[in-house]
């Protein structure tokens, strides 16, 4: 039991060390030797838990995406319209990324690996599937334009938001993520929401983007 707890603590130290390095100098520049040194561990200890640098990256992607997907899921409420949950969901995701360094590193790693790492590929897939569910519900509830292609909405919004996250991360270290998400949605909304609903959702978006989440 004690050994297991100690082993878990070592694994944690490796991940935390790698996360800090990836967020400071990027994945390519972070060598295994740097990760070991920062974690104050031996090479043996690292190899006991991870067979390679990419295995560390995979663990970070999985943990970070769990946080981000968990935030997205928790933002959906059955009593509110799906389109509200879509807008609200992106701000909850923004706040989750801002608050969590593992999630930030995971986002960087997703970009580094793209489809070449199975965990990264799977993460994009799950995000897309869960987002598509909300978009389809919004179509069904009549908030999206009737002739719209739901798959195209999913692809366009997801790509725009991931792009906004990339630029925010590159330009301001993620500090203006909320604002970039808000602006991107502002431009996208009129193309997808019905004329009847657009006024309401502009206001809903404006309110959401100004809100500071109460600490839970």
């Amino acid at each position: 039991m004690v050994r297991q707890a100690r082993s878990e603590a070592t694994r944690r130290r490796i991940i935390d060390s790698a996360v800090a390095l990836i967020n400071e100098i990027g994945y390519p520049a972070s060598g295994l030797a740097d990760i070991i040194e920062r974690a104050e561990l031996t090479k043996g200890a690292l190899y006991y838990h991870f067979e390679s640098k990419e295995a560390v990256a995979t663990a970070i992607i999985e943990e970070g995406m769990d946080t981000i997907l968990g935030a997205f899921r928790s933002s959906g409420r059955s009593g509110s319209p799906a389109m509200e949950n879509i807008v609200h969901g992106w701000f909850v995701v923004a706040d989750a990324i801002t608050a969590d360094s593992v999630a930030q590193a995971a986002c960087r790693l997703l970009r580094t690996f793209g489809g070449f790492n199975p965990a990264a590929k799977a993460a994009y897939g799950v995000l897309e599937a869960e987002f598509a569910e909300r978009v389809r519900a919004a179509v069904e509830q009549g908030d999206l334009q009737s002739n719209i292609d739901a798959d195209a909405v999913v692809a366009t919004v997801l790509a725009s938001m991931l792009g906004a996250e990339l630029v925010s991360s590159a330009m301001t270290d993620g500090r203006d993520l909320r604002r970039r998400f808000a602006r991107t949605l502002e431009i996208l909304l009129p193309g997808i929401v019905t004329e009847d609903s657009i006024g309401y959702y502009r206001e809903f978006l404006a309110r959401q983007s100004m809100r500071i989440l109460p600490s839970s």
């Binding site: 059955s78 509110s80 319209p81 509200e84 309401y200 206001e203 809100r211």
Partner: protein
């Protein structure tokens, strides 16, 4: 008692509470028969009396059980990143939908009126609701959605009274008309405390929730078939 026996006793207690909620939700207090509860819960009368010394004690337990669960839902909504007034409206609709479709919610509110009045339980439960809505209203004033001249306590009291009154004048077994009545009441009281500039937005907010609630609400009787 061993841990296992403890767990079994707890499971039995839950079974009885559930069966009682069903009976109290579908019948007036005076017509609820302990034998029906015992039969529905599939326990002995002795087991029932081991956990609850009377029908009255059982009714109080149903009220308290529901009050706890109800507040857990509200706590969840409260930290969801919506404004004070948006949360207030969300809570109102969540209460209505569960009152329409969930036996323990319906029973809790039925009993609050029937038996809660006599030993302070009603005052205690309603106080929690009034304080909760008052806190949300105070937040809404700070956020500019509710006008400053409004007294949060009085607004909270009005909202609670409005809902309890609606339960008497409308029919929970007809979900669509109940929710439409709830919507009309909200539209009517909203200008009394909301910022006039935001009435249009909140009208949309309420209409959208009504439409969804009509779709989501499953009447209690259909639930039990």
């Amino acid at each position: 008692m061993t841990e296992q026996a403890d767990r079994r006793a707890d499971a039995t207690r839950q079974q009885i509470l559930q069966a009682a909620a069903h009976e109290f939700a579908t019948r007036p207090y005076s017509q609820v028969n302990l034998d029906d509860i015992v039969a529905r819960a599939d326990v002995t009368k002795g087991a029932l009396y081991f956990h609850f010394r009377s029908k009255h004690a059982l009714a109080n337990a149903v009220i308290e059980h529901r009050a706890e669960r109800g507040w857990a839902t509200v706590e969840q909504l409260r930290t969801n990143g919506l404004s004070g007034l948006e949360t207030t409206i969300d809570v109102a609709y969540v209460i209505a939908v569960s009152d329409i479709g969930e036996a323990d919610a319906r029973a809790g509110l039925n009993l609050l009126e029937a038996v809660g009045r006599f030993d302070g339980l009603q005052a205690k439960v309603l106080d929690v609701w009034v304080n909760g809505f008052a806190a949300l209203t105070r937040r809404a004033i700070g956020e500019g959605d509710v006008v400053e001249r409004v007294d949060p306590e009085q607004t909270a009291r009005l909202l609670v009274s409005m809902y309890l009154g609606l339960r008497q004048t409308s029919n929970l077994d007809e979900p669509e008309s109940f929710i439409r009545d709830l919507e009309s009441l909200w539209m009517l009281v909203l200008p009394g405390f909301a910022n006039p500039e935001k009435l249009g937005y909140f009208a949309g907010f309420i209409r959208r929730r009504s439409a969804l609630a009509v779709k989501n609400a499953v009447p209690l009787r259909a639930n039990n078939l």
